[in-house]
C-alpha cells in the first residue's frame, strides 16, 4: 500500500512529460503556417520595390512614412474600422436573442440540434454564389423591390438597394451570424438554471438576474463571436470590392498593391491592418478572460 503514492507520482511524471509530446504537432503546424507567414509580412514591410523575399541589407521605413503621410490612409482606416465594428455589433444584437431562445426556451435537445444543423447548411453553398443571390433579393428585379412595388410604396424600382455600404453590412451580417450565434449558444447552454432560481429567490427581478447572471456568464461566448466577426470582416477584400460600391477598405488596399506586385508596400498596409486588429482583440480579451472558461 505504501508503494501506491510513489507509483502515481511516476505516472504523473510521465503524463506531465507526455503533454509536450501531445502539443508538438499542433504547435509545429501553428508556428510553421501561422506565425512564420505573419513574421514574413512584418519583415517584408521593411523592404522596398517589388521584391517578394526579405532582404536584410536593405531595411527602410519608407513604406510606413508614405502610408502615414497619405490622408487617404486615415479615411480608409476610419471606414474599415467603422464598418467592421458596426457589423460586429449588429450581428451580436441579431444573434443574441436567437441563441438565448435556443439555449433556454427550446427544451427538446433534439430540436436544438436540428436548428443548429439547419443553420450550418447555408455554408455549404459557396460563399461567392451565396453573395450573388443577393442580386435576386435586393436587385432591380429582386424580391424587396417586387414587394415595394406591389404594395405601392414606390413607383419605380429602387436601384440604391445594391452597391452601398448598407448592402455590404447586410451581406456581412448574413455571412457571419452563425459564428456569433454558435459561441453564444454554447456559453448560454452552460449556464446552470439553478443560478437563476437562486438569483430570483434572493429577490432579483427577471431583468436583473438576466443581466447579472445569464448575460455575464455568456460574455465569453459574446467575445469569441465578436472576435470572429470582427476579424473576418476587417480582413475581407472580396465582399467590399463586389458590393460596397467603391468604398475603399484596408484589406482591399493590401490586395490592390499585391496585385501590382508591390509586395513590400502591400505588407506594410498589412501590418497596419494587423496592428488595428490586434488592438481591438486585445481590448476584447481584456474585458473577458476567455481562456478561463475554456480550460481553467
Amino acid at each position: 500500500m505504501c508503494t501506491l503514492p510513489n507509483k502515481t507520482s511516476v505516472r504523473e511524471f510521465i503524463s506531465r512529460r507526455s503533454v509536450y509530446l501531445m502539443i508538438l504537432p499542433p504547435l509545429a503546424i501553428s508556428v510553421l503556417f501561422m506565425l512564420a507567414p505573419t513574421v514574413s509580412v512584418l519583415l517584408l514591410s521593411f523592404n522596398k520595390g517589388t521584391t517578394v523575399t526579405f532582404d536584410p541589407t536593405r531595411i527602410t521605413l519608407e513604406n510606413y512614412f508614405s502610408i502615414f503621410t497619405r490622408p487617404t490612409t486615415y479615411i480608409v482606416l476610419r471606414d474599415t474600422l467603422g464598418m467592421s465594428l458596426l457589423a460586429t455589433l449588429m450581428t451580436f444584437i441579431i444573434a443574441y436573442p436567437v441563441a438565448y431562445f435556443l439555449a433556454f426556451k427550446v427544451e427538446n435537445f433534439r430540436l436544438q440540434n436540428v436548428i443548429t444543423f439547419l443553420l450550418v447548411i447555408p455554408y455549404w453553398v459557396d460563399w461567392s454564389i451565396r453573395s450573388i443571390s443577393w442580386l435576386s433579393i435586393l436587385g432591380r428585379e429582386g424580391i424587396v423591390n417586387y414587394l415595394l412595388l406591389s404594395l405601392g410604396l414606390t413607383q419605380t424600382p429602387i436601384a440604391e438597394l445594391l452597391f452601398t455600404r448598407w448592402t455590404l453590412l447586410i451581406i456581412w451580417i448574413q455571412t457571419n451570424v452563425l459564428f456569433m450565434l454558435f459561441p453564444i449558444y454554447l456559453a448560454l447552454s452552460r449556464v446552470d438554471p439553478e443560478l437563476l432560481d437562486v438569483a430570483q429567490s434572493l429577490g432579483a427581478t427577471p431583468s436583473r438576474s438576466f443581466y447579472h447572471v445569464t448575460f455575464k456568464l455568456s460574455l465569453p461566448g459574446v467575445v469569441v463571436g465578436s472576435m470572429f466577426v470582427f476579424v473576418s470582416t476587417i480582413g475581407d477584400y472580396v465582399t467590399p470590392a463586389l458590393w460596397a460600391g467603391g468604398l475603399q477598405m484596408l484589406g482591399l488596399t493590401v490586395q490592390n498593391y499585391a496585385w501590382l506586385f508591390q509586395w513590400p508596400f502591400a505588407s506594410a498596409y498589412g501590418v497596419l491592418l494587423l496592428a488595428v486588429t490586434m488592438a481591438v482583440i486585445y481590448v476584447l480579451l481584456k474585458v473577458v478572460n476567455i481562456k478561463q472558461v475554456f480550460y481553467e
Binding site: I121, V125, L135, V231, Y295
Partner: protein
C-alpha cells in the same frame, strides 16, 4: 416572452435561409436571369441542352466544373482529416497544467485572430522565400488546417464534460493504461465534439477564399473558380446550380462521415 422570442428566431432564420432558398429555387429557372418569378422550371443548368453530340453546357457535363467540385471536396476532406486529430490532441492537452499553456492556447487561437489577407499574403511570401515556385491545390492545405483548428478547439473545449477527468481517473485507478483510458473513456465522451469539429473544418475549408486565392494555382476550388468567373461573366442560374449541387454533396458526405465516426467510435467502446 417565449412566443415573442420564437417568432423573432423564426424571422432571423428565415432571412438567414432566404439566400440559400433562392439559390436552390432559381437554379431550376429555364431563363438566363436570376430573378423571381420563375416562368418555366427546367434542369437546363444541371444537365444542359440536348445536341447531336449529347448534352452540353450544364454543370454536370462540364468536366472543368466537375474538377472544381472534386478539388473542393478533396481539399475539404483532407483539411478535416488533418485538423480533427490536431483539435482533439490540443483540446485534451489543454486540460492539463503545463508550462506555456496560455502561450499554446493563444498561439492556436492566432489562426482565427490573424486577418485572412495577412495569412494569404504571408504564406505567399513564405513560399517564395523557401523556394516554392509552383502553386497547386495542395499549397492551400496548410492554411486551411491552421484556419480550421481554432474553431474546432473552441467548440470542443466549450463542450467538455467537467466530470470527464474523474471518469478517466477512475479507470486509471482500476488499472487501465493510457491507451485504454483514451479509447474506452475519453473518446466516447467527446464523440459528438470530434464529429462537429470534423464538420466545421470541412465546411470552413469548402468556403475559404480570402486565404486560398493568394497561394492557389490550376483549376482551383469552387470559391476561387466562381470568384474568377464573376469578373468575366454575368451571373446566371448556372452558379446557383453549382451551389445546390455542392450543398447536396456536402450533406451526403457529412452524413456518411457522421455515421462512420459514430459506428467506429462505438466499435472501439463496446
Amino acid at each position: 416572452m417565449k412566443t415573442l422570442l420564437g417568432i423573432y428566431t423564426a424571422i432571423v432564420m428565415f432571412i438567414f435561409m432566404l439566400p440559400i432558398f433562392l439559390v436552390i429555387v432559381l437554379s431550376f429557372n429555364a431563363e438566363q436571369n436570376i430573378a423571381l418569378p420563375i416562368t418555366r422550371f427546367s434542369l437546363y443548368w444541371y444537365v444542359g441542352e440536348a445536341t447531336h453530340s449529347g448534352f452540353r453546357s450544364g454543370i454536370l457535363n462540364d468536366p472543368y466544373i466537375l474538377r472544381v467540385i472534386s478539388n473542393s471536396v478533396l481539399l475539404g476532406v483532407s483539411t478535416a482529416l488533418i485538423a480533427t486529430p490536431l483539435v482533439t490532441v490540443s483540446a485534451l492537452s489543454l486540460r492539463r497544467k503545463f508550462h506555456g499553456r496560455d502561450m499554446f492556447f493563444y498561439l492556436l487561437l492566432l489562426g482565427f485572430i490573424i486577418p485572412p489577407i495577412i495569412s494569404g499574403l504571408g504564406m505567399n511570401i513564405l513560399y517564395k522565400t523557401i523556394g516554392v515556385r509552383e502553386y497547386s491545390l495542395w499549397t492551400v492545405l496548410p492554411l486551411h488546417v491552421v484556419y480550421t483548428v481554432p474553431f474546432g478547439l473552441i467548440l470542443t473545449l466549450a463542450r467538455f464534460d467537467p466530470e470527464m477527468i474523474e471518469y478517466e481517473n477512475a479507470a486509471r485507478s482500476l488499472g487501465a493504461n493510457e491507451i485504454r483510458v483514451f479509447s474506452k473513456i475519453t473518446l466516447p465522451l467527446i464523440r459528438a465534439e470530434v464529429i462537429s469539429a470534423f464538420i466545421f473544418a470541412f465546411t470552413l475549408s469548402l468556403g475559404e477564399l480570402l486565404r486560398s486565392s493568394f497561394v492557389i494555382a490550376g483549376i482551383g476550388t469552387i470559391p476561387t473558380y466562381v470568384y474568377n468567373q464573376m469578373s468575366v461573366q454575368a451571373p446566371t442560374p448556372k452558379w446557383f446550380a453549382l451551389g445546390t449541387l455542392t450543398t447536396i454533396i456536402s450533406f451526403a458526405l457529412l452524413m456518411v462521415v457522421a455515421l462512420f465516426l459514430t459506428r467506429k467510435i462505438r466499435r472501439i467502446t463496446y
